[in-house]
Symmetry: C2
Subunit: 404 residues, 2 copies
């Protein structure tokens, strides 16, 4: 059986994702789709709307055959580390190809970009470092160096515009695959409809997850987003809110985050991953003053740090993820199986001996710093959703979800 | 002016306290009463019903002239350390005498007890150590050693029964005063009415604070305790519940405590003060399982640790108080003024030059590990009372309370 790998967050699953999974399978002529999916905290450094099992169900109902969890330390890290973790897992799972969304849906400019950068690697890295020292954020520094060294000397059509989020991830996937000498073939699909951060447009079936979440929280209702998501997802979101009473967001998680910042104090905050250069004092001050998450961010946000970068620090503070935790998890060491269709199950049986990492379907049978931390994160996420009656220990109690 | 010192928690202030303050003043022929009072967490290792400022008001309305805070690290420690902290502060504040409640109200048996123990100190300490190694709690071990070496060889009337909580504290006050060579004279008053842990008896004006709290939480109403507390206290409790919506208790603070235990994990718990000998694994397991504080304690409680001892660990986990924090606060280093009457104010003016420690009325003007920690504890207490809208920074905003 031939598998195509995709990297997803599904926050929430929407019609664009349905198209992506189906087209990836068709374009690569695969028998099944394997998704590596973030757990309960996401790459933008925020809690997922609904937990990883609920999002796994959404995936299995809508064209994905196997869902493996991207472990916490990679799911919440920068684009390069996120992408390399995901690619390592897809490669370990035996995928023949991987497929990502990009602005233009053409793979050649990515190949060209990679080789051009490789040819000026030293200069390129130095220029990025210089821009960061001047006080701008990493993504902006990368972009400026890229514009100066690559884009200025080439026909723009030949290379990729790395100022666009989808392109950056695609670029890092291909870089990561090259780094591990993976035999997986890259493929890309053009994104549909709305841009990454655009508001939703009513009367169309496609909107970005960001737009959907915004609509969702502004209207405090699932109804306006019904047109953008499959029916099963719509039902699933409605069931969640009935059972759990709130969706995951920093607005809802803020009291626990704030308690944690004040209990830790600036000294202990400095040990937390991604908390750097004295920002701990600002975080502490902001937590003392701000009654809401939006007020908190208004105090902390500056030109030096992107919103995402700050949110990642906050995620690590919330979960207690330190620099030494990170150091203890140098590479993904297992394939945590969250769910499978029948086809997925057959694939697992067939591939059993050829997987490059152990497939872990029961956490009780596997121990590693990475697996333990991701399961503890599930508990802390559950506290954010409902501090009085959190659903704990789910990683030990819920077997992989099966869909016939 | 001549001052008598008392050591109090006022959780809540009741008619027995009214009698205690007035009688202490009368018996020692003093001009004013100085109280050293615990802050927001108490010696039994639990959050106070209402915060330290509200309890200071209660004190000033009912016969106390000056209230100084017993800092967190002493207020939440064992009887010996609690007592020595309190005595050091009363001595530093220039008290001529100090007065405590005891079972019989006579000071001679305390003096006799102290000198008898001193005469067999080495044997006594060894015996206590031996009993603890056999697996019983410290208070029980002390009591057994005391019975074996002192009480068995003496007329019981000559010495003090150290199995009674009030007597133990009294004993430690006198021991602490002797250790620092204090010139303060000890005095004692017999306790009135109900025993320390007794249920309240209706139709009498006196009940223990423990009995009052029990009545309070069982009936979820202040009304049944009205007869046991001064009117000003009754009003104050009712105002608190209207403004803050809940009284402090582990039942109410449990979600934050539980979150903290799960976020820390067993390894980090071991750094917390009083967490010893592998109990961190049990605490972690209990937090995973128990939905309520009572369920939690049912799992953790054993013969080896008293309820109080466990609650003290939990207090330190809640506040993040580590062994290294404790080591950085070897002795009380300031007199934190919480409130004063006119007489108290005159006394401060008169004594200004003769206080042995700085009087701190604005925390912004004083920095020490101990002062900083106690103020951060106020914030964490406020989260327990109301996690969504905690009243933070009160230690910096509330000046000493004045009563004319």
């Amino acid at each position: 059986m031939k598998a195509v790998g995709i990297v997803v967050e599904y926050n929430p699953f929407h019609n664009g994702h349905l198209y992506h999974a189906a087209s990836a399978k068709a374009q690569t002529e695969s028998d099944l789709v394997i998704a590596v999916m973030s757990g309960n905290f996401l790459q933008r450094g925020e809690p997922a709307l609904v937990d990883k099992w609920t999002r796994t169900e959404m995936a299995l109902e809508n064209g994905v055959d196997l869902v493996f969890e991207l472990p916490y330390e990679r799911a919440t890290s920068n684009a390069s580390s996120f992408a390399s973790g995901a690619i390592q897992l897809l490669d370990a799972a035996g995928c023949s190809s991987y497929c990502f969304g990009s602005e233009n849906g053409s793979i050649v400019p990515f190949t060209t970009t990679l080789s051009r950068i490789a040819s000026v690697q030293t200069q390129y890295d130095e220029l990025i470092r210089k821009y960061i020292q001047e006080g701008i954020s990493y993504p902006k520094a990368l972009n400026r160096a890229y514009s100066a060294l690559i884009r200025s000397t080439a026909n723009e059509q030949e290379t990729v515009d790395l100022s666009l989020p989808n392109n950056i991830l695609g670029f890092h996937y291909m870089e990561a695959a090259a780094n591990i000498g993976s035999s997986m073939k890259p493929a890309t699909l053009p994104r549909l409809g709305a841009g990454y951060h655009d508001d939703v447009k009513h009367g169309t079936p496609i909107a970005s997850a960001t737009g959907i979440r915004k609509e969702f929280f502004e209207t405090e209702s699932t109804e306006p987003i019904q047109q953008f998501v499959p029916n099963s997802v719509y039902n699933s979101l409605n069931n969640w809110i009935i059972e759990r009473t709130s969706f995951g967001s920093w607005d809802v998680f803020y009291p626990l985050l704030r308690f944690q910042i004040l209990r830790s104090g600036p000294e202990h905050l400095a040990a937390i991953a991604d908390v750097t250069e004295g920002i701990e004092n600002l975080l502490y001050k902001a937590a003392r003053q701000a009654e809401t998450f939006q007020q908190f961010m208004a105090i902390v946000k500056s030109k030096r740090y992107t919103w995402t970068r700050i949110q990642r620090m906050l995620t690590h503070i919330y979960t207690g993820f330190t620099y030494s935790h990170r150091a203890s998890m140098p590479a993904p060491d297992h394939l945590r199986l969250l769910g499978m269709t029948r086809a997925g199950q057959s694939y697992l049986k067939e591939m059993k001996e050829n997987m490059k990492l152990p497939v872990v379907s029961r956490l009780a049978n596997f121990n590693s710093a990475s697996a333990d931390f991701s399961s503890s994160v599930s508990d802390l996420y559950a506290f954010g959703i409902n501090p009085i009656h959190p659903s704990l220990g789910l990683d030990y109690r819920i077997p992989p979800i099966r869909k016939d």
